[in-house]
Structures are given as structure tokens and as C-alpha cells.
């Protein structure tokens, strides 16, 4: 069918013309595919009509199918299912859709379904589905936990997955994959129809893969029904919006370059430099990586420019919801001059008044940097303007690297997750709460997703065993109860309490448990992640909301503190602190350092010359084909600094592996520290790394085995296990009216981890924790690539007489983990000897 000749097209374009809107080419392409009942992916940035590309397509299709009575038709059942990751976006999108529907005089209704939807609205939707349902992945799963949910999908024509680039790569993406596999199979088997499936995605490095992941369940059904020839070609259409955004990047230079950079130290001193920037633009967003720092910046800005009081605001995840909404509202209306924020404003609705963005500290990745830049200059043809403000002088190298990456459009890929058993366990329980499931049938559906393409029958049965008998063999003293097997083989959750508990826990976003921070003498300070505070001991000092505090005790989910006089204190490592350089960022950074050796006119590198000179005098600035290793002895012990520039996560793994490999030469115990530039091994005895063994220590050989052995003794898997345990339903947060007994059902993730490790080491969730460490945390592929690169490069070992500019930031902010080849008992004994010496 030719789009332009159809009634629907004529009616829609007429309406658009009345509103001085002409469809973009990509929108018309998408509409054409939709009326041809194709599936695919629309690649378009936010704010250029991506919603219309699918939504109007759905309307055109409906009008074409009902040319005479499209305006009168009521209660047509669900036509368009719109999956969006952001609750905040749902209302805006819904309003835009309703506006069009009203203007066309149609009877379609738009419903919103997310955590905020009221009980009565849910009930109404249950009785009569609206034509358009805007839903989050979590609520979609809740829909699948309803009785008789299949009939909802009877008339469904299109599923749209908005912001697919955001969803894919995370467990919410896996949730979407599973839900899609269910819906298309329900349609095929029960109603013998098949809807269209469309993703909407911003540009990422692996756009084709993104399409493949999304469409996989659909493609598998097509392959089953079509000829082999038809299935051979790439499935699904790709529609690209050729809207190119102009971006300006400026670095903010400190007046003086400190030769010993120190994370977080510099930034706030530059507050005077950003005031003119704020003054010159209508509205400015100041992105800061950590919540603690946003508070400090907010205070610093107010101190430097008191006249801004009332015109600047704070926005981050620990700020109460109401205040955040107020900030967002005022951003819309342009009443705010500047907002100091964290990743909390990375996504979501666009604020048109924003003209300028300031990025404080490393954005850690090209895509994130671009995303933030894109928050400014939102009207058509406006330029996005972003300023980069370094928090320590070395970060200026990152600015140079980012500029290069943006120029080359060198954007990261989002690798899809594979075999997330925790999500699968949750999903199966969701189905069991709903109408129940037959394992045989569901196995085939699940296998049709990209995520579970390679799941083995054995692993699937293992999971079924986990949810039906609790993993272990039946024993007369066991009363495990979750999913029950009915006489006809239907797997179902019958226990109402268990079902209710499960419904409350559907979702894959596991936020860190937050604890309130209060003065012992009374007075609320803020909130802090349990993860952070659990690593501190009473007497330790930390900084929050700009205050140095001493931890006194933790009681009833409250951290009690007093003001600290200690000079050294730990700054909480929030989400931002834990982000790691992306592959692309790392590559560009190494390139930029290399460039510093050559004649260049890159301002950032010029400014850093004194620092580079000192580094070159004491040690060396590594070129692209060099690996720098520094041996430095201090009062603390013997340090080995290795600069691989691969990002903190890879360094964390590499440090463990290197420590393990060295410890096979001599029994030795290390502590580690790492940042995005490199890592440190610290020991109380000299570290035997020299020309004779260094290539061997960085060899790719036995990598897998060495990882297994070294990771086992670290905390990595334990940390991963927390999320998995929550998603997989092992950690239960309690619910109202069940207080006493609920308390008896609580346990910490670390305790569960310990117990499983000891008593059920083959548990599938435990195995997943290790797999996640291996694939995501250590990024095994990247690790391998790095080792290959190192084998080909020149390894330079220096013995500087004192700390170098490069090692200094590592010395300052450090995360330490333990790893030892000594017998536990011997080690404790030796530690004691050291203490009593």
C-alpha cells in the first residue's frame, strides 16, 4: 500500500498542516512500514518527533482500516502499547497523543500505567483497556501477573519501545524482551495474529544489534512461518532521522595547574569561572558526578554570588520527590537560572529554557557527555553548548579526548545482557502469580529472546527446581513453598501472601538501601547509601553535605554522627564515583596522552605541560604503545602503580589478577587501589615485578583460570549478588502489617552470599553473580584486548624517588580489597606481628 494514497495519511497530514507542521522524511518512512505491518527500529534523538513517527503511524493504520467510521469507533481494545522507561515522560507523551486524538474527533483513549497509577484506574483498565497504554517495563510485568491477562492483547496492533538504547544493556531491557516474547506468542497461538514491534533509539555504537535484540522474539515467529529464503535476510526495518545536532565544547582552565592532581580538589575553586557562564545564559544545568559534591557546589555558588539565591536549585536522587518536581516545573517555565544536578537530570523531559550545560569532572563516557550536552539548546537548529570543568588538572586530558571523540562521532555500544537468571526467575514467578505456566511451552518462548537464546534445558530445569522445591532435594523436614505444580503440570503460585509479596517486588531496579544521617544530638543531615557506610567503622570520618562527620553508630536504619575534627575523611562513593571509563573514552584518552609528546595546538594539553614535564622527569608520560609501571617505596609500604588507562572496572580486575600472579612467585599480601587511569598494589614487602617477568605477568595465557582464582577471594561477586538476590526474590524488604514476622525474614545480601557460597556453591544465582563479575564488572573482553595490546607494547618500569603526578590521585582516593595467597591463619598471625612490632 502506498502511504501517500491512503485515507489515513491524508487525514493526518491535513491535521498537521493546520498546525504548521510538516512531517519529516523519517516519520513518513516509519508510517509506510507500519501500514505494511513491518517491524523495526527508529533511530532519532529526543525532541524531533520520534513519538509521532510511531503514534501517528498507528492512527493512519486505524483510519485506513476503518475509513468511514474511524471517528465513531469506541472501545476498540488495546491498539498501541507504548513502553517507556521513564514515568515522568508518560504524562507528556500521553497529553501529546490525546491532543491529536481530540483534534481528529476520535474516540480513542490514552491510559497510563505505572507505579503512580491509582487502584481505581487500574480496575477501569482491567474492565476496558484504553486504545493506547503507556507503560513502564515493571508495570507491564505486573500486567502479566494479572489473571486472564492474555485477552488484553487480542486486538493489539503495535508495540512501541521508547528509549530502547536506555533499556537495552540493563536488566529492564531483559524484562522488556521477556514480556515481548510472551505477548507475541500469545497473539500467535491464541489469536493467530501478529502485531508490529517498533523500537525508538538514540544513536549508539551497536544500533543494528539493538534492533536484533528487540525484534528477536518476533523474528523467531516469522522464521517459523516463512520460507528459509525470507528469513535469511536481516529482519526488521531501520528508519534514521537525519537530524544533526550542533555541539560546542569548551574547557574551563584553572589559572594555575597543580602538579599533584587530586580528585575533587580543584573543581570548587573554579566557581568564579562559571559565574559568568551562568550569567550569560538563560538557564544552565551544572552536572556533577556525586551527590555530595552537588551540595558543596550549590553552597559555593551561593557564597560566590548571593544574588543568585532563589534562582538556583539542587536536584539529585537523595532529594525528596516533591522538591525535585518543583525544580523540574521551574526549569520548564524558565524561572531558574541554574540547577546543580547529578545523573538525575540525564534523562527525561526536555527543558527548553536550558541554553548551557556545565559538566564538572569526568563524564566517563562519550555517550553520557553527548547526552548531557544535548540537554541544552533544545529548540530546532539551536546549538548545544557544554563546558567541561575539571576537578583535577589531569582531567583536562579527558576534555581533549572527548572533543576528539565527539568530532569523530565515536559513541559507545551498549552490549545486551545475556542469561540473566535472576530476571528469568522473577518472570517465571510473575507468570505463576498470573495464569500459571507450563514449563515446556515457556521454555521455548524464553529461548526466543536474545537474552536467553543460549539457555540450556538443564539450566532452565535448574531454575524450575529453584522456584518449585527451593533448589535442594526434597526432605521430610522441608516446607519450601513458592511455585506449586498442579496435577495437570501447570506451575502456579497459590499462596496469597507469597503472590502479594512477589507483586510488590517486581522490578529490576535495585536501589541501594539508603540510611538517614543524623547528629547524635539531633538534627537531620541527609541520606547515605548503606553500601558506603557499611565499609566504615565507628570512629571513621566521612563527608556528606559538605560536612566532616565522625561515624558513631548505626541504629534502626539511622547513621548517628558527630562533627569530626579529623583532617582526613572519606567522601562517599555514590553512583558517580563508581562509574568507570567506557572503552571509547579510554581509547581516546590514551591517544590524547600520546599527542602530548608531539607538537600540537590542543589547548588542554598545552596547559598541562608543567605537569607532563614533572611526570617525564620523575618517570614518564606513556605513549600509546607503552605501558608505564612505577615502583615507589613510601612509609606505607611498597607501591606498584600500573597505568593501563582502561577504566576503574577493568583495573579492579587486573589488579586482582596481577596480585594473584605475583603471589605465585612469592607469598605476599596486597591491598589495591584503582581509578580510571590505573591501579596500585601496595604491600609490606618489595613487589617482585621487573623486566624479566613483566610480560609474563600481563600475559593472556590462563586468564580465565587466574580470574576464577583471584576473583573468588574478592568482594566483587558479593556486591553483584545483592542486586541478583533482590531481583531473584531472595531478599525481602517487608511489607505493611507483617512487621514482626517480616523481621524474621530479613537477611543481608552478604550473609546470603556467604551461606550460598558455603552450602550451595552451584546455586544458579550465585553462578550468575560470578558470571556478571566476569562479563560486566571485569569486562573480560576488554581485559583480553588490553592484555593483547600490552603484549605488543613497550613496558616501561620506572623507580621514581617520590610520588609522581600520575600516581597521586590514586594515592588519594582508594578503594581497597584483600587478596592473599597465604593461609588465612598465617596471615592473621602475621598481621598481628606487624601490629605489635
Amino acid at each position: 500500500m502506498q502511504l501517500h494514497t491512503t485515507t489515513g495519511y491524508k487525514i493526518i497530514t491535513q491535521l498537521l498542516a493546520q498546525n504548521q507542521y510538516r512531517p519529516f522524511d523519517f516519520q513518513e518512512q516509519a508510517w509506510q512500514h507500519i501500514i505494511n505491518c513491518k517491524s523495526g527500529l527508529v533511530n532519532a534523538p529526543t525532541g524531533c518527533g520520534k513519538t509521532y513517527s510511531i503514534f501517528l503511524g498507528a492512527l493512519i493504520q486505524f483510519i485506513n482500516n476503518n475509513p468511514n467510521n474511524y471517528a465513531a469507533l469506541k472501545t476498540n481494545g488495546l491498539q498501541l502499547l507504548w513502553i517507556t522507561p521513564l514515568r515522568a515522560l508518560a504524562k507528556d507523551i500521553g497529553r501529546a497523543m490525546e491532543d491529536v486524538i481530540n483534534k481528529l474527533g476520535m474516540q480513542w483513549r490514552v491510559g497510563i500505567r505505572n507505579g503512580d497509577t491509582s487502584m481505581s484506574d487500574r480496575e477501569k483498565q482491567k474492565r476496558q483497556m484504553p486504545e493506547v497504554l503507556i507503560i513502564t517495563p515493571e508495570s507491564l510485568h505486573l500486567l502479566l501477573a494479572q489473571k486472564d491477562n492474555t485477552k488484553i492483547f487480542n486486538a493489539l496492533k503495535i508495540i512501541a519501545v521508547d528509549e530502547w538504547h536506555e533499556l537495552m544493556g540493563g536488566k529492564r531491557g531483559v524484562q522488556v524482551e521477556l514480556a515481548l516474547s510472551r505477548i507475541v506468542n500469545v497473539q500467535k497461538t491464541l489469536f493467530n495474529t501478529l502485531c508490529s514491534l517498533w523500537g525508538i533509539s538514540a544513536t549508539i555504537g551497536n544500533l543494528d544489534e539493538a534492533k536484533e535484540v528487540l525484534l528477536q522474539p518476533m523474528q523467531k515467529l516469522h522464521v517459523a512461518s516463512e520460507s528459509a529464503a525470507a528469513s535469511a535476510k536481516v529482519f526488521g526495518e531501520t528508519v534514521r532521522a537525519s537530524v544533526k545536532k550542533q555541539i560546542e565544547i569548551h574547557s574551563i582552565f584553572p589559572d594555575e595547574i597543580e602538579k599533584y592532581p587530586w580528585a575533587g580538589h580543584l573543581g570548587i575553586k573554579l566557581v568564579d569561572k562559571i559565574l559568568p557562564i551562568i550569567n550569560q545564559s538563560k538557564t544552565t544545568l551544572v552536572f556533577i558526578n556525586t551527590r555530595g559534591m552537588t551540595e558543596m557546589w550549590y553552597q559555593a555558588l551561593l557564597a560566590a554570588a548571593p544574588e543568585l539565591a532563589g534562582a538556583i536549585a539542587l536536584h539529585h536522587g537523595s532529594i525528596e520527590q516533591e522538591l525535585r518536581l518543583w525544580v523540574e516545573e521551574n526549569l520548564h517555565t524558565g524561572k531558574l537560572k541554574a540547577v546543580v544536578c547529578t545523573a538525575s537530570l540525564d534523562l527525561g523531559v526536555d527543558f527548553r529554557p536550558v541554553e548551557t550545560v556545565i559538566q564538572v569532572g569526568s563524564p566517563k563516557g562519550v555517550a553520557r557527555f553527548l547526552q548531557r550536552a544535548g540537554r541544552s539548546g533544545h529548540s530546532p537548529n539551536a546549538v548545544s553548548r557544554i563546558y567541561f570543568l575539571p576537578t583535577h588538572s589531569l582531567e583536562l586530558v579527558e576534555a581533549a579526548a572527548l572533543k576528539k571523540a565527539v568530532e569523530e562521532n565515536f559513541i559507545e555500544s551498549k552490549p545486551p545482557l545475556l542469561l540473566c537468571y535472576d530476571v528469568l526467575i522473577q518472570y517465571l514467578c510473575t507468570l505463576a502469580v498470573g495464569d500459571g505456566f507450563y514449563p515446556e511451552r515457556i521454555f521455548n518462548e524464553v529461548k526466543n529472546t536474545f537474552c536467553f537464546n543460549d539457555i540450556t534445558k538443564d539450566d532452565f530445569l535448574e531454575i524450575i527446581k529453584h522456584i518449585t522445591v527451593g533448589g535442594t532435594a526434597l526432605s521430610q523436614y522441608d516446607e519450601y513453598k513458592k511455585v506449586e505444580i498442579m496435577p495437570d503440570g501447570l506451575h502456579k503460585i497459590n499462596n496469597r501472601r507469597i503472590a502479594m509479596r512477589h507483586r510488590m517486588h517486581i522490578g529490576t531496579i535495585v536501589s541501594d538501601a539508603m540510611l538517614k544521617v543524623k547528629f547524635m544530638s539531633g538534627g537531620y543531615i541527609g541520606v547515605i547509601e548503606e553500601y558506603f557506610i557499611s565499609r566504615l567503622e565507628p570512629g571513621d570520618s566521612f563527608t556528606i553535605a559538605g560536612r566532616n562527620l565522625e561515624l558513631l553508630m548505626i541504629k534502626d536504619m539511622t547513621v548517628l554522627v558527630k562533627l569530626s575534627t579529623a583532617k582526613k575523611s572519606v567522601i562517599p562513593s555514590w553512583q558517580g564515583g563508581r562509574m568507570s571509563f567506557t572503552n571509547n573514552m579510554a581509547a581516546k584518552l590514551r591517544q590524547a596522552l600520546d599527542t602530548s609528546h608531539k607538537k600540537n595546538n590542543i589547548a588542554e594539553l598545552q596547559v598541562l605541560q608543567p605537569l607532563f614535564a614533572l611526570q617525564n622527569t620523575l618517570s614518564r608520560v606513556p605513549k600509546q604503545d607503552e605501558l608505564l609501571i612505577e615502583h615507589i617505596a613510601t612509609r606505607d609500604g611498597y607501591h606498584l602503580f600500573v597505568y593501563t588507562f582502561e577504566g576503574r572496572l577493568v583495573h579492579e580486575a587486573m589488579a586482582a589478577i596481577l596480585a594473584y600472579r605475583i603471589s605465585r612467585i612469592v607469598p605476599i599480601t596486597f591491598s589495591f587501589a584503582m581509578n580510571d587511569y590505573g591501579f596500585e598494589l601496595l604491600s609490606d614487602q618489595p613487589i617482585p615485578v621487573d623486566d624479566s617477568n613483566v610480560y609474563e605477568l600481563f600475559s593472556e595465557e590462563n586468564l580465565f583460570e587466574d580470574i576464577q582464582k583471584s576473583v573468588n577471594s574478592t568482594e566483587m561477586a558479593k556486591r553483584k549478588f545483592r542486586d541478583i538476590a533482590v531481583i531473584g526474590g531472595l531478599i525481602f524488604q517487608g511489607m505493611p502489617g507483617e512487621k514482626q514476622k517480616a523481621r524474621h525474614l530479613q537477611s543481608s545480601a552478604s550473609l546470603l552470599f556467604k551461606v550460598f557460597n558455603e552450602y550451595e556453591p552451584n546455586n544458579i544465582l550465585l553462578k550468575q553473580a560470578y558470571a556478571e563479575v566476569f562479563e560486566q564488572q571485569m569486562e573480560e573482553t576488554r581485559l583480553r584486548d588490553m592484555l593483547r595490546r600490552i603484549q605488543k607494547s613497550k613496558i616501561i618500569i620506572t623507580v621514581p624517588e617520590r610520588l609522581t603526578p600520575f600516581c597521586f590521585p590514586l594515592k588519594v582516593d582508594s578503594i581497597r580489597e584483600n587478596m592473599s595467597s597465604e593461609r588465612l591463619e598465617d596471615r592473621v598471625k602475621r598481621m598481628q606481628e606487624q601490629l605489635t612490632k
Binding site: 519450601y480 606505607d636 514476622k741 601490629l835
Partner: protein, 219 residues
């Protein structure tokens, strides 16, 4: 490395064993705390698949300790059972039958909420609050200790699941359950393996004995 440590208080000598128990030699009494029996069962009944081997192994460790020390009595300073009764409690009853010659005394803890008949049926004597034997007293939480008894007796208690963190150079640190001793009282490590720990910081006149694998190490 010693698998246990002998600790003398007045005329009494106590053996601190890596199985997280104390043996009082003179009275042939095994003292233990925070078994949290039935905890795995309680979780499993609610659909949380904790490995049920935990309970079986806890029971086995108790058997080992009994066969090794041959006590006449067990004194349990609280939290013997984790929550309301479940089938794992029957496993305990079976075990109890095999060791019916040993007296069991439970100083009630905050988790001990099963009904009195149940204890009677299991031949467990239950005491609320404080209990004393010669110059040694027992209580679940030290804050409930009797002021007068505290003057004349050495106390054994539980409840907090003490642990110590052992630090070395280079900021290394590891955490182990411990027996925690002050001049007047001791806090026992939790016997049950499915239990969390609370970090203690021994002051100068306090002593911690860490359980490290199959050893007990003094600090």
C-alpha cells in the same frame, strides 16, 4: 594454631572452641548462644530458597561438640530458635531424642517465641532473664543483667553476634566471629551459621578471641 583456647576466670576454666561454643570444664557444661535453629526453614516456607543444609550442619556441629566434650548440660543463652515453629523444629526433636540424657537449659532470647508446651515437649528448661550456677551467671543481652549478680558473678551472654575485624599494614582487613570478654562478662559468637555479625572494637581491658576457620585466635 590452637583449635581452642583455655580461658581461666577465678577458679573456673573455660574452653573456647572453634565450633563457637564454650565448655565449662568444672561443671561439664556447654555454653552456646544464638543458634537460630529453624531459620532456614522459616525462610524457605516463605518462598526464599536458603540452602537447608545450613540447619543440618549446625546440628552436626552440635553433635561433634557433645561427643568431644561429653557435657552433662547445655546452657543456651538465648535465640535458640529463630521464629515460630516449622518442620525443621521436628528435625531438632529427633536430634533431642538421640541425646535425651543431656539437660538443656534455655535463657530466653528475643527470638524465642515458640509456645511453652513446645519447650516442655522437647525437654528444654526455660528461664526468663537471669540464671546463675555458682559464681557464673547467664543472660541473653547484657543490658538485662542483674546489677546485684553482676557484683559477684561472671556473666555469659549472647544476642549481638560479635565479630572482630583484623587489620594489617596496607589497610588490609578481615572480619571473623569472636568470643568477646570483658572483666565482668563474655559475649558469645552466634552458633548458627546463617547469622550476621556485629563488629566489636575491644578496648584495652577487653579481649576478643576470633574464630578463624578451625582455629581460635586471641587478640
Amino acid at each position: 594454631m590452637p583449635s581452642f583456647i583455655q580461658h581461666t576466670i577465678g577458679n573456673n576454666s573455660f574452653i573456647l572452641h572453634y565450633n563457637r561454643i564454650v565448655f565449662w570444664e568444672q561443671q561439664k557444661v556447654l555454653i552456646l548462644s544464638d543458634l537460630h535453629l529453624g531459620k532456614t526453614g522459616h525462610f524457605r516456607k516463605s518462598g526464599i530458597a536458603i540452602p537447608n543444609a545450613v540447619m543440618k550442619e549446625d546440628m552436626q556441629r552440635l553433635v561433634d561438640a557433645i561427643q568431644f566434650f561429653k557435657p552433662v548440660q547445655l546452657v543456651i543463652v538465648g535465640d535458640m530458635f529463630h521464629s515460630v515453629a516449622n518442620k525443621e523444629h521436628e528435625l531438632f526433636l529427633k536430634w533431642r531424642n538421640d541425646f535425651s540424657n543431656i539437660k538443656i537449659l534455655l535463657i530466653k532470647g528475643n527470638h524465642d517465641i515458640v509456645p511453652h508446651e513446645w519447650y516442655r515437649n522437647a525437654a528444654i528448661d526455660v528461664v526468663e532473664g537471669n540464671w546463675r550456677l555458682n559464681d557464673v551467671a547467664f543472660v541473653h543481652q547484657m543490658e538485662d543483667a542483674d546489677e546485684a549478680l553482676l557484683q559477684s558473678c561472671f556473666y555469659f551472654s549472647g544476642h549481638i553476634h560479635p565479630a572482630v575485624s583484623i587489620k594489617g599494614l596496607g589497610k588490609q582487613s578481615l572480619r571473623f566471629p569472636c568470643f568477646f570478654f570483658t572483666k565482668n562478662f563474655a559475649v558469645l559468637p552466634a552458633f548458627g551459621k546463617f547469622t550476621g555479625t556485629y563488629l566489636m572494637e575491644p578496648a584495652k581491658n577487653e579481649k576478643a578471641f576470633a574464630v578463624v576457620n578451625n582455629s581460635v585466635i586471641a587478640f
